[in-house]
């Protein structure tokens, strides 16, 4: 029986040489044969079947069963909709199957080569001037309706808010979920100062920014020691506190009724009254009085404010302060060891971010001529943060693109009615799957000895709060 392992009770199987065979002892096959490649179709079918089962479990209670009021008006009865369930489950099965087959059949994903990166970089260089040119020319393009201009104003407001929040979240790495609070402070500052004291928009604008910055510092102090999740929760609470105060301090803010009749801005003292008349913009320039003038003016106003935000941010990034913000995002402890006053650096980030939020708020108030706490709910903070994250933390261009897609896209889906939120959510998921670090994930160095090379987003820190 030589050559055959003879197992006997309590014995160890031996091979030819009488050496205990570790493989047989532990029951592991000696040569680990690679598993045979699964036939793609069978695997895809199995996976799609599982997805369909999950969908079935989900949609039986959600779609299959529905309670309706009885025809005689008395009591509820359960209506079943099995065909709808079958259609949805079938769709899930087919979709999952198609996705699986596509995954297995498409060629290997190419690693981003240096050439491709360089090409993308060159395209990226073109995107910003093209977008800027388009933004400047928009009011004069043929086919630009009042609706498009209003949408443009809305998008630019969010671009500005995104750029403002980008200082706090993208550069300094401090997760702020209550940014809308500063927007509210700016809006109410202008609303109150103009309606009670009678100051003009151009005086109130810097005041609103200063007040918002002041509140930014006030928020900054208690949260200096907090990081990450804790910071996010406290800033979230701060945003809500401001809103609740606005609702409840009726004598000052008008409570839920808000403040109406906020004066519109003037163009160097020329008003935009619809009827024309002496001292109005149309009268001075000899134009036909038109409500479009004011919209165009507001459009350029927010464009200028947004560009100011961008300019200051870009300049600050190249200053010691901006570099300290980014260093803070990368490693706070190392910053301290280098003698950087972490407290002041964080406070300036909060204050400057808040200031631009305040500017945007003052603009919002003068554009709407009405403010109420309803405009400053948490969802606004969430949208602004989503713009920053989807655009790419720290990237000015990315934030502008994300604002365009998020706000403009949301309007574009208006025809979908109740499916709008679904399309919106799907778009966000697609962006995050496709570009997990945001649309523009690379970082441009603030200074260089030779040629400026962009830095891969994988190396750049996301901040620890």
């Amino acid at each position: 029986m030589s050559g055959v392992a003879v197992p006997h009770e309590g014995g160890v199987p031996h091979n030819d040489d009488g050496v205990p065979d570790p493989g047989e002892m532990t029951g592991i096959p000696r040569t680990a044969a690679p598993p045979p490649p699964r036939p793609p179709l069978a695997h895809a079918l199995r996976d799609a079947g599982i997805a369909a089962l999950v969908a079935l479990g989900l949609f039986i209670p959600l779609v299959g069963l529905r309670t309706d009021v009885g025809p005689s008006g008395g009591g509820l009865f359960i209506r079943t909709r099995w065909t709808d369930v079958a259609i949805i489950v079938g769709l899930v099965f087919a979709g999952r199957l198609a996705l699986n087959l596509w995954e297995s059949l498409r060629p290997e994903r190419r690693a981003p080569t240096a050439r491709r990166t360089a090409l993308l970089g060159r395209i990226g260089l073109l995107v910003a001037p093209v977008l800027l040119g388009f933004a400047i020319a928009l009011p004069f393009l043929p086919g630009t309706s009042r609706y498009v201009l209003d949408l443009g104003i809305l998008v630019l407001t969010y671009v500005m808010l995104g750029w403002g929040l980008n200082i706090v979240v993208g550069l300094a790495g401090l997760l702020d979920l209550g940014y809308v609070a500063f927007y509210a402070v700016g809006a109410y500052s202008y609303a109150l100062l103009s309606t009670t004291v009678g100051l003009s928009f151009w005086i109130c604008l810097p005041l609103a920014g200063l007040l918002a910055a002041f509140w930014g510092v006030l928020l900054g102090f208690p949260v200096l020691r907090l990081r990450g999740d804790y910071l996010a929760i406290v800033t979230l609470a701060f945003g809500e506190i401001i809103r609740v105060v606005l609702i409840n301090w009726v004598s000052l803010t008008g409570g839920p009724n808000g403040i109406s009749g906020i004066p519109r801005p003037s163009f160097f003292g020329l008003s935009f009254s619809a009827g024309g008349g002496p001292g109005s913009f149309s009268d001075f320039f000899g134009l036909e009085p038109s409500p479009t003038h004011r919209v165009v003016f507001l459009y350029y106003l927010i464009l200028a404010l947004a560009l100011l935000t961008n300019w200051v941010t870009l300049r600050l990034r190249r200053q010691p302060l901006g570099r300290a913000w980014e260093a803070l995002r990368e490693d706070e402890i190392a910053c301290r060891a280098l003698g950087i006053n972490v407290t002041n650096t964080k406070l300036t980030a909060f204050a400057i971010g808040a200031m631009f939020g305040g500017f945007a708020g003052a603009f919002f108030a003068t554009r709407q001529a009405f403010v109420s706490p309803e405009s400053f709910t948490f969802i606004e903070s969430a949208i602004i943060l989503a713009i920053v994250v989807l655009g790419g933390l720290g990237s000015q261009l990315g934030v502008a693109l994300a604002a365009l897609i998020m706000i403009g896209g949301f309007e574009a889906f208006r025809d979908l009615e109740e499916w709008r939120m679904l399309a919106f959510g799907a778009a966000m998921v697609v962006i995050m799957v496709w570009r997990p670090r945001g649309m523009v994930s690379t970082r441009t160095p603030s200074i260089s000895l030779g040629k400026r090379k962009s830095i891969s987003g994988d190396l750049v820190g996301e901040g620890h709060g």
Partner: protein, 280 residues
């Protein structure tokens, strides 16, 4: 052999105590770091070396005791100085686990280190945003200083690369260059040779000597006995939070207590002594 007394030491540590709850990590430790010399702090794992470093650089506040720096502007009690002020007073440090700004370029890392000098030139940031004032000159000077240290650490050709993309040894050197850009009088190196190969360790020793020649005193924590015995002028040995020896390398090599601390008491004859390791 004790420290030469004639010139004032750069750093005086007196009866330093640090307790974490019930644990006394540093127990009445006193030593001096002489000006213009390399002082090494050694000891087995958990001896309290890094805690002493964190106390000196202001990351912890001592439970008791004094730390005095005799820097450019006279004597300064570091135990009562906030963290970022200690760096401004002229104490720079590196970390046991490298702490660079990985997403920023090598040059940016070195400019962040010169933050305070540059920030002073910006006039509260406003002048710099508008492009006014002497900021440009200050920045040029900062870049020159950065270039000097990049050359010293042989990183000049990597100046525009992200710090996180450098190989390990280069990251260690960059951390030293960054600390030197703060223009310190005392450089504290926490295990700078950890993870380096023998050739890199030798280069590191060379760099540390160069820094000393430049007039900066050095405090060093190191496990690599080759490096320690080779470059230190003076060695302080800690064990279980207490100082057990203090002297020149040759004296430390022969010290009974040090050998016992490193190898445990008892059968001394079986294991090689640290002196042998150091000589190897």
């Amino acid at each position: 052999m004790s420290t030469p007394i004639l010139p004032t030491p750069i750093l005086e540590v007196r009866d330093l105590v640090m307790r974490f709850g019930g644990l006394t990590a540093v127990d009445r430790v006193s030593f001096e770091a002489a000006r213009g010399e390399i002082t090494a702090v050694i000891g087995p794992n958990g001896a309290g070396k890094t805690t002493v470093f964190n106390l000196i650089t202001g990351f912890y506040t001592p439970s008791a005791g004094e730390i005095l720096l005799h820097g450019r502007d006279g004597q300064r009690p570091l135990h009562a100085t906030p963290g970022h002020r200690i760096a401004q007073a002229g104490v720079a440090r590196t970390f046991q686990n490298i702490r660079l700004f990985p997403g920023m370029t090598v040059l940016e890392n070195l400019l962040v280190a010169q933050h305070n000098r540059l920030q002073a030139a910006t006039g509260f940031g406003i002048a710099a945003v508008l492009g006014l004032g002497g900021y440009r000159a200050a920045e040029r000077e900062a870049v020159e200083r950065a270039k000097h240290w990049l050359e010293a650490t042989r990183l000049l050709d990597r100046a525009d690369d992200a710090a996180g993309s450098l190989p390990y040894g280069a990251q260690r050197r960059l951390e030293i260059a960054r600390a030197m850009c703060t223009d310190p009088v005392l450089l504290c190196l926490d295990e700078p040779a950890a993870g380096l190969n023998p050739r890199e360790s030798e280069e590191l020793a060379e760099l540390i000597r160069l820094i000393r020649t430049g007039g900066c005193s050095i405090l060093l924590i190191e496990h690599d006995m080759g490096v320690v015995m080779n470059i230190s002028d003076h060695i302080v040995v800690l064990d279980h939070g207490k100082k057990i020896a203090d002297g020149i390398p040759a004296a430390i090599r022969a010290d009974e207590k040090v050998i016992a601390a490193y190898l445990g008491t008892g059968d001394d004859d079986e294991a090689p002594s640290p002196a042998v390791e150091g000589a190897a």
